[in-house]
């Protein structure tokens, strides 16, 4: 799956759409950023409720294609700006981490 297809596939909204369109290598679900740093796959997607710019720093370290923010958590402007600077897609969904992970697992699970 390409980054550009992710929001449509999830029925979610892309709130930061300036990114280089890449093939998504996998996904990881966690609300502990240190855990995401340790385990998220490079070029993958992070599924989380941590809607602040520190999450973008994790995305940058791991070269993430996209961050999916669940449960419609409000995304502050500085997070959107940081994601734009880093070229990481930000996707907002009303669904839970469980639901998003379940949808993506058949496509991205190995």
């Amino acid at each position: 799956m390409k980054t550009s297809e992710l929001a449509g596939f999830l029925g979610a909204r892309c709130v930061q759409d300036r990114f280089e369109d890449r093939t998504i290598a996998g996904a990881y679900t966690s609300d502990l950023l240190s855990d995401a740093i340790a385990h998220a796959p490079d070029d993958g997607v992070l599924i989380t409720i941590q809607a602040h710019k520190n999450t973008v720093a994790v995305g940058s370290l791991k070269d993430l294609c996209a961050i999916v923010i669940c449960n419609n958590r409000p995304i502050p402007d500085d997070m959107i700006e940081a994601a734009r600077d880093e070229g990481i897609a930000l996707i907002l969904t009303s669904e839970s981490q469980f639901a998003v992970s379940g949808k993506l697992y058949p496509v991205l699970g190995t």
Binding site: L33, S34, D35, I37, A38, H52, N54, A57, S60, L61
Partner: protein, 246 residues
């Protein structure tokens, strides 16, 4: 007697800290801004504390040597000591407990420490803003064993804080809680329950212009701020923290 205090400062050792934040620049700026006692608290490392010690002597600042530690719960906790050695010891232990995630300086920032002449003495290879494999209780216990103060950082902030990670302020051996803003008790809604712990504010400076912002008043009464050997007297500081608003 009331002294101005800033207990939360990052140097060039923190990847998010500006390279211009050398211990000497920090001490000089603290002196210019009338802060009398200050703690260096880099993320998970104390390797700039020896240089901070020398710099604070030069500018007549009473120094505390600290670490902003991050353990399993991902809450940031200020661990403060009167001497550099226990801070360095804690830093060594945290280093061993951190995952082998290496820093990428071009992306995350440099993690350099300096000697007292401001020459770069070394660089930390592991990325410092990860979680050491230690729970908050064990971490606090270790800090107390090493003779330090335990102050959860920015507890009212939506990331890396007790409230963001746990949703509330748990019981703990907290000498105080650091808040970004003192709670407005005239507001009866949405005020964080700080459980009657003493509250302080500090700069959390990563850039020179932020040094000393939100510095707080520490009322030490008639007690000496320093011990005979010139180190901060933590007994005085503990007692003074008890006089802070709650």
């Amino acid at each position: 007697m009331i002294v101005r205090a800033d207990f939360h400062l990052h140097s060039c050792l923190s990847p998010c800290g500006d390279l211009s934040m050398s211990p000497k620049t920090i001490a000089r700026t603290l002196a210019e801004r009338d802060v009398h006692i200050a703690a260096l608290t880099d993320h998970n490392s104390a390797l700039n504390c020896p240089a901070f010690d020398a710099a604070c002597r030069e500018f007549d600042i009473t120094a505390l040597f600290g670490i902003e530690a991050q353990g399993q719960e991902e809450c940031h906790i200020l661990c403060l000591f009167a001497e550099p050695e226990p801070a360095l010891e804690l830093g060594k232990e945290l280093y061993d407990l951190m995952p082998p995630v290496m820093n990428v300086p071009e992306k995350m920032g440099d993690q350099v420490y300096v000697d007292e002449n401001e020459d770069i003495a070394g660089e930390v290879d592991k990325y410092l803003i990860t979680s050491a494999e230690i729970g908050m209780e064990d971490l606090s216990r270790r800090v107390l064993e090493l003779g330090g103060l335990v102050i959860p950082a920015h507890v009212d902030r939506p990331s890396f804080s007790l409230t963001s990670q746990l949703g509330f302020i748990p019981d703990g051996p907290w000498d105080a809680l650091e808040v970004v803003r003192m709670p407005d008790r005239s507001q009866y809604v949405n005020v964080l329950d700080t459980r009657n712990y003493p509250l302080i504010t500090s700069s959390d400076a990563h850039f020179v212009e932020h040094i000393g912002r939100r510095a707080f008043d520490l009322d030490i009464g008639d007690e000496p701020l320093c011990r005979k050997d010139g180190r901060a007297d933590l007994k005085t500081i503990r007692a003074a923290l008890l006089r802070r608003p709650r």
